[in-house]
């Protein structure tokens, strides 16, 4: 087979992956100011999709449209259509609380609640009534911490405050907290920007493993990180989606000149 044929076959294979979320003509306004311009971006199931672009280009804004966290921002308005498994998430019949249980979120700065490690992880399951007994809850907490690769480090001090952990551990605790409600999609907004390189490596490894069970969308300002953890990459610039492609292709042979320039570090 020729190289081109191999590439085509690979593309085919990738293209058969079902779409978890579909964003169509998504625009976001903060008051009078328009932050996103008709973005069309699809999120593939069990895939890590990285959002890159210079700061202020609208990556976080787009990410927040996916679980309607923009609703919590005063005078923020979203137009267009976003679906999660065919359901329009901006439809009035959709319960936003339920949506956020299906599309979880991890934030830039680790934000554990000022509660114990156990209570941090148990927070979501308790609210959504996912466990009927204490034993079930213990089970959920343990598996979530295991999935977040934190279990071995904290299993002897579950009752200590989550805020007492190191920054990297706190961020993994937040991931465990998100995982505990068994979401389908996990959104991560620059989850490593407040962490040191070692903690970053751990979280990146974790993202790799989580991919098996979850669909992940991650905002990152680090090209290397996008290249390391993602299979699909979307490049934003000034509120526009510039290019969406397989990560390998994006970093070797992008279609758009602006992507090329950004990746080469010519702006941003």
């Amino acid at each position: 087979m020729s190289e081109a044929a191999v590439e085509k076959a690979l593309d085919q294979k990738m293209n058969t992956v079902p779409l978890k979320m579909i964003g169509k003509d998504v625009s976001v306004y903060y008051g009078e100011k328009r932050a996103l311009f008709d973005v069309n971006l699809n999120i593939r199931e069990n895939t890590v999709t990285a959002l890159i672009g210079p700061s202020g280009c609208g990556k976080s804004t787009f990410l927040r449209t996916l679980n309607r966290m923009n609703d919590t921002i005063e005078n923020c308005r979203v137009t267009g259509r976003i679906t999660l498994d065919e359901d329009d998430i901006y439809d009035p019949s959709i319960d936003v609380v339920e949506l956020r249980a299906r599309v979880g979120m991890v934030f830039q700065k680790p934000n554990p609640f000022p509660k114990s490690i156990y209570d941090n992880v148990a927070y979501g399951p308790r609210i959504h009534g996912l466990a009927r007994t204490k034993a079930e809850l213990d089970e959920i907490v343990e598996t979530s911490l295991q999935k977040a690769g934190l279990w071995n480090e904290v299993k002897d001090r579950l009752q200590e405050p989550g805020t007492g952990l190191s920054g990297g551990q706190q961020q993994r605790l937040c991931i465990a907290r998100a995982v505990a409600v068994s979401p389908e999609v996990i959104l991560m907004d620059e989850p490593c920007s407040a962490l040191d390189p070692i903690a970053t490596a751990k979280v990146e490894e974790l993202i790799h493993e989580l991919r098996a069970n979850f669909t992940i969308v991650i905002v990152t300002h680090s090209m290397q990180q996008a290249a390391r953890v993602s299979q699909r990459t979307a490049m934003f610039h000034l509120g526009n989606l510039v290019e969406e492609n397989d990560t390998d292709k994006m970093f070797t042979n992008p279609d758009d000149q602006r992507t090329q320039d950004y990746i080469m570090g010519r702006f941003g």
Partner: protein, 494 residues
């Protein structure tokens, strides 16, 4: 020269010094401003400060020291017989000497001669000039008074000379310092710093002074009534004894008053805390920024209403309303239209004080709730929690220590509140638990004991200081503890 005239002169010299300093700095700069280290205004201020400040300090010191010195030298010039009769007599004689001295200043030379030889009555002569003398004057007083007048005149003259000299010398010294590289700006800065420190120490020293005077008066009270009787006494019955009559000192039990104070404060808090807290949660978490920007200042205006106004409100509205409604209720239930809530009662005072406290609770709690980082809210909402779940499970627990601190601060206001309870709680010092009956508080009794024409010698009036210091200790303790908690909680987010 009179003191105010002297002061005016100093200021005038200061003004001249300012312009002289400015002009001088301009002159040495050769009209090239850039060569000056400091702007001409600073040089002017520097010279003016040197002209005014030392002179003013000398003046102040002189005004304090010279009367002391003159008094003591006049005192030592009094005849042996007077000085041997104890401090009180000497003090009395000194007062008379000063009165005579004032009188002598109004007599002419012939009259003074007549007074000295005793050919006319001293007291009558002075009375004719409008100076009343306590008791018959004695010959030695005239002499002492003359000495007093002479010393005073000399002192005044010397003071004027010294002060003016100081102003002049200061100005000249400073103006000679003015050169292009002279750092007038830094010098002025140091004086500013000094005056700021003086201002803040005045505030602190006054506080210490107030505490000191309260302590010493309370000490006098405790020398008449034993502390155990005061702190553990269960009967408050001070019995206004006729002045001077010994023995019938009454009973000064603190407990009924303290009980009333705490009870009313408790009712007020029970009323204010839930309402204030809910208002704060609404303001911080739900209200739109527009509503918030209107409602929050409005609520805070309530905190500025003088408490006496709340007192009126209690007296003419809430009290009678509670009394009448209780009569109606009783009538409906038993057929007997007898009110079971008194117009003046713990409940009336508590409710009105609670209304007064609502803005404090809500405003303080609102500040604390909005201090909870947005990241925690987002974290909770991002997990699919509703707003009220977020408030209940994340925000309130995180803000709790701060809110407790705020409530303690509020409680200390409730304990110290006076005007509402004076009008609404009644004056009966009783120990009881029925909230519908009147009770009274520490503050009410302080007001009572200090109303009227008083002499601060009997325990009946001095007890006010003991009550005051007790109240002070309670509120101070509450405040310190509250600040400690609030501060500890602040660190949590840093």
């Amino acid at each position: 020269m009179s003191t105010s005239l002297l002061l005016l002169t100093i200021l005038l010299i200061g003004l001249v010094a300012y312009f002289a300093g400015r002009a001088r700095s301009l002159a040495v700069s050769g009209s090239k401003l850039a060569t000056l280290h400091s702007l001409p205004g600073y040089h002017g201020s520097y010279v003016a400060i040197w002209a005014v400040l030392p002179a003013a300090l000398v003046l102040a010191a002189w005004l304090i020291a010279s009367p002391l010195y003159i008094d003591s030298s006049v005192r030592s010039a009094l005849p042996e017989t007077v000085r041997n009769q104890g401090a009180a007599t000497v003090q009395l004689a000194l007062g008379q000497v000063k009165a005579v001295a004032t009188g002598l200043a109004r007599l002419d030379a012939k009259e003074i001669e007549a007074v000295k030889t005793g050919s006319v009555n001293l007291r009558e002569t002075l009375a004719a000039k409008g100076v009343a003398l306590a008791g018959e004057g004695e010959p030695f007083m005239v002499e002492a008074a003359e000495q007093f007048n002479a010393m005073r005149g000399f002192s005044r003259w010397l003071m004027s000379a010294v002060v003016l000299l100081a102003a002049f010398a200061g100005g000249v010294y400073a103006i000679r310092n003015v050169t292009a590289r002279f750092r007038a700006r830094n010098q002025v800065e140091r004086v500013m710093l000094g005056s700021l420190i003086v201002a803040s120490s005045i505030a602190i020293l006054t506080t210490i002074g107030i505490i000191g005077s309260m302590l010493s008066e309370a000490g006098r009270f405790f020398s008449m009534v034993s502390p155990a009787e005061f702190f553990f006494g269960t009967v408050w019955d001070p019995r206004f004894a006729a002045a001077g009559s010994e023995g019938s000192s009454g009973q000064f039990g603190l407990l009924p008053l303290l009980g009333g104070t705490l009870y009313i404060a408790f009712v007020a808090m029970a009323f204010a805390v839930p309402i204030g807290l809910f208002a704060a949660i609404y303001m911080a978490e739900y209200a739109s920024p527009r509503l918030r920007s209107i409602a929050k200042p409005l609520l805070e205006v309530l905190a500025g209403i003088p408490t006496i106004v709340y007192g009126f409100f209690a007296l003419v509205t809430v009290g009678p309303f509670l009394r009448d409604i209780s009569a109606q209720l009783n009538g409906l239930l038993t057929g007997n239209y007898q009110n079971f809530i008194q117009a003046q009662s713990v409940l009336t005072a508590g409710i009105v004080m609670g209304i007064m406290l609502i803005p404090f609770v809500s405003s303080l709690s609102d500040d604390i709730i909005t201090q909870v980082p947005r990241a925690l809210r987002d974290g909770s909402l991002g997990l699919g929690a509703t707003r009220s779940e977020t408030v209940k499970k994340v925000i309130l627990p995180a803000a709790l220590p701060g809110i407790v601190g705020a409530l303690l601060l509020t409680a200390s206001r409730a304990v110290g509140e006076t005007m509402i309870v004076v009008l609404a709680a009644g004056v009966a010092a009783r120990m009881q638990i029925n909230p519908f009956e009147p009770m009274t508080t520490v503050t009410v009794k302080i007001v009572h004991q200090l109303t009227g024409d008083l002499e601060f010698t009997s325990p009946q009036t001095l007890v006010a200081f003991a009550l005051g210091i007790t109240l002070f200790v309670i509120t101070l303790g509450l405040n310190i503890y509250a600040l400690y908690i609030v501060r500890k909680y602040r660190e949590q987010y840093e």
